[in-house]
Symmetry: C2
Subunit: 441 residues, 2 copies
């Protein structure tokens, strides 16, 4: 018997604000950060690693919340806990006092994601499989048992979900073979951050095209004239056969979103991402009706499965961009994938940040193999930052994620990274005296 | 010139779980708590007090978040800050790194509420007025400037809001005179907690009727047979002329909510409160269509103004129960009141907890005087717990809140309360060794 002996949480921050990586119309100076969780067992060779992603200040809140979330795991038998990941999730989630602080949103939900991401990593490591394969080896019933289906029965019942998964179950192997040959298609945002100069934008777009990307994304929304100029540069460089997406990061009210997107329609973007508040289901639906055939994409700030249920019911989005560290880990992500399948909305997960690419590759592979069975309209984000900190970093070739082969959820960071970038005591932060950070430390 | 010198945040917890006060189908053992904020100035006679409300574990997260939220206030000129409370709010709210952790929901938003509640208290004290009067003395333009109108323009524009407030402005004085005579009507939940025995329920309901209450509320949703028995007792005691409300605290999926409420329809409740996830706008709308003429009430977990906007747009609720410590203080509450007026939905604020009654009385009075101009369908919650800890506690007579007269937002607690119930170092918690609390401390 192997027992969970401790759950530790670590504040890891990278000074990305110095290079304007990740800058957009809402978030001008993020320091990409992780509230990083390690589940320790009495087997020195077996640990679980997970995290949630933040952009700096407040990462400490998620770390402390994750520490509290992890306490019920201590002393559990690993075999029993990983054999019932749905039950493990529900036990953590049902703490009514912590629930009050959301419910199911914000810091306590991000912390649940961090801890359960580590539990899923532990489960995959214990099984000796990458997470995507662990999921692909589960039966439809096992997947639905693991999923958080609460509050969803008016949109998708348990039996409907099983039927939907059963249709694809016999042919899962074929699609694995296919992805092993071709990888899972991705697009890049690395070129398009708002803080980059026109010259840097032009150079990075050229490089991305040379690297094989056919989908490229620009940040917009701060200034319309700038957006028109940057979109013109983008089309000059990538041509009209490649796909351009634009992303406003929630800066507009609904009427403003409609006017602004229409003013950029000549550049024929595939989608406008986060045109307004991520909570505004009816607002997204209104924007979608007004800007068609330009699609609407949202989800990186989608707080929980109930929001996504409504996005589907209201026909508010053309592309579902769920976030692997904001939803309550694989348990809640599963139910969003099931609903997306039923409502016919392609899932194109949000990535970037730190470590999100490492996670979402597993989810996208699983989706194609076991849920959607389709690559049409699907492309997963890739941003080429900070992968060097991961023991099993994602690999992208010819604009596609190569299937991960090591056991786990690819979430483990190097010890040296923790030593350097732990906040505020890591060597980087001690040496710079937190100079890129304001006075709140 | 008076300057803000410090913003301190305090973890205050009361062991209400010992008496099952506050027990409902979702929250079985809450310890009512406050993340309590004090804004200090260089004038020893001028401080601001505010808080957000939680039910125990995780209150420390809100305290730390409030400490971080308060930092930008330090060094500000009090006169300038209170003269532009809209600008002060937007400065705190626009911290993009903390925003990522919501956005505008969960722990960071609760913390914003706590800090800005203290700023509004400071503003009212500096003006020498109770908060309701400070608000009633503001012009329509000043009120709209203070309100958070972002993301709302598809439902209510700035100019519409000004027109709507201007209609009632000339007659504000008449309604103040009226309320000074009669108070603002309230209802009580004190009798109906789920953990109380039938005998205690019967006794408390009888006492409430004798105290003049005409509206009484029961918790439901754990067991249908129990609910039928408890509703029968309630109608026996209060008769059929008094108004009964029921509250499920989010325990049901949408189809279950519809079946369960229909099974209780013979008891003719005025409303079913929180029938399902508080995030589920479309779900509330579906329940409302199915259980009419029983009304649907929701809002105590309504995370922000964008949720309420959609509740109004989708005709999802009959009663808006905004929460004074969950929304981003008066700034965000104002915009919800404005929208409620436009959409014709009565606002019946959530209270109870610790200190919420003290806050919402100000809001309800302001609503009647300056926004709605009507008492029809309006009744504000009152729960008779923990008022003894407040320097200026609310006073209820004949089922109505008596108008507060002291300067401020009635949020100040006694120093002795802080000494006794600060967690974990207050004398109560030291003496009990935190025995009512689990092992996470």
């Amino acid at each position: 018997m192997t027992t969970i002996t401790a759950v530790t949480a670590h504040d890891v921050r990278f000074p990305t604000s110095l290079s304007m990586d990740g800058s957009d119309a809402m978030n001008k100076d993020g320091d990409y950060s992780a509230a990083y969780v390690v589940i320790h067992t009495d087997d020195p060779a077996l640990k679980g690693y997970g995290f949630t992603f933040t952009i700096g200040r407040g990462n400490d809140l998620c770390v402390e919340a994750a520490r509290q979330r992890g306490i019920p795991l201590i002393g559990k038998d690993v075999e029993l806990a990983v054999a019932d990941l749905g039950g493990t999730y529900r036990e953590l989630q049902s703490d009514s006092q912590l629930r009050w602080l959301g419910p199911e949103k914000g810091v306590v939900h991000l912390a649940l994601a961090a801890v359960m991401n580590a539990m899923w990593d532990l489960a995959a490591r214990q099984a000796g499989k990458p997470l995507w394969r662990l999921l692909c080896d589960m039966t439809p019933e096992q997947l639905v048992d693991a999923a958080d289906m609460r509050y969803l029965s008016d949109a998708l019942s348990r039996s409907e979900a099983i039927v939907l998964l059963s249709e694809l179950a016999p042919t899962r192997g074929e699609r694995i073979t296919e992805l092993e040959a071709s990888g899972y298609p991705c697009y890049t945002t690395s070129a398009g951050w708002l803080g980059y100069s026109d010259e840097k934008l032009r150079r990075l777009l050229s490089e991305a095209v040379a690297d094989g990307y056919r989908h490229l994304k620009l940040k917009v929304g701060a200034n319309l004239d700038d957006d028109i100029r940057r979109c013109s540069i983008a089309r000059e460089v990538i041509g009209w056969d490649a796909t351009l997406m634009i992303d406003a990061n929630q800066v507009w009210d609904v009427p403003e979103a409609i006017d602004w997107v229409r003013a950029l329609s000549d550049f024929k973007p595939l989608w406008i991402e986060e045109p307004t508040s991520p909570d505004d289901v009816l607002g997204h639906a209104a924007v979608r009706r007004a800007v068609a055939p330009i699609g609407v994409a949202s989800g990186e700030h989608g707080m929980n499965r109930v929001l996504f249920k409504q996005m589907f019911q209201a026909e508010a989005i053309d592309f579902c961009q769920l976030d692997s560290a904001r939803l309550g880990s694989v348990n809640e992500i599963l139910s969003v994938y099931f609903m997306a399948k039923k409502f016919g909305v392609p899932v194109c997960p949000h990535a970037g940040g730190v470590g999100l690419c490492e996670l979402v590759q597993h989810l996208s592979i699983f989706d194609y193999v076991a849920v959607s069975g389709s690559l049409e309209g699907r492309v997963t984000e890739f941003v080429d930052h900070l992968h060097e900190h991961f023991v099993d970093p994602c690999v992208v070739r010819n604009g596609a994620y190569v299937l991960p082969s090591q056991p786990g959820y690819s979430a483990e960071m190097f010890d040296s990274t923790l030593q350097e970038f732990s906040f505020p005591a890591g060597s980087y932060w001690v040496e710079t005296s937190g100079s890129s950070q304001p006075s709140w430390v």
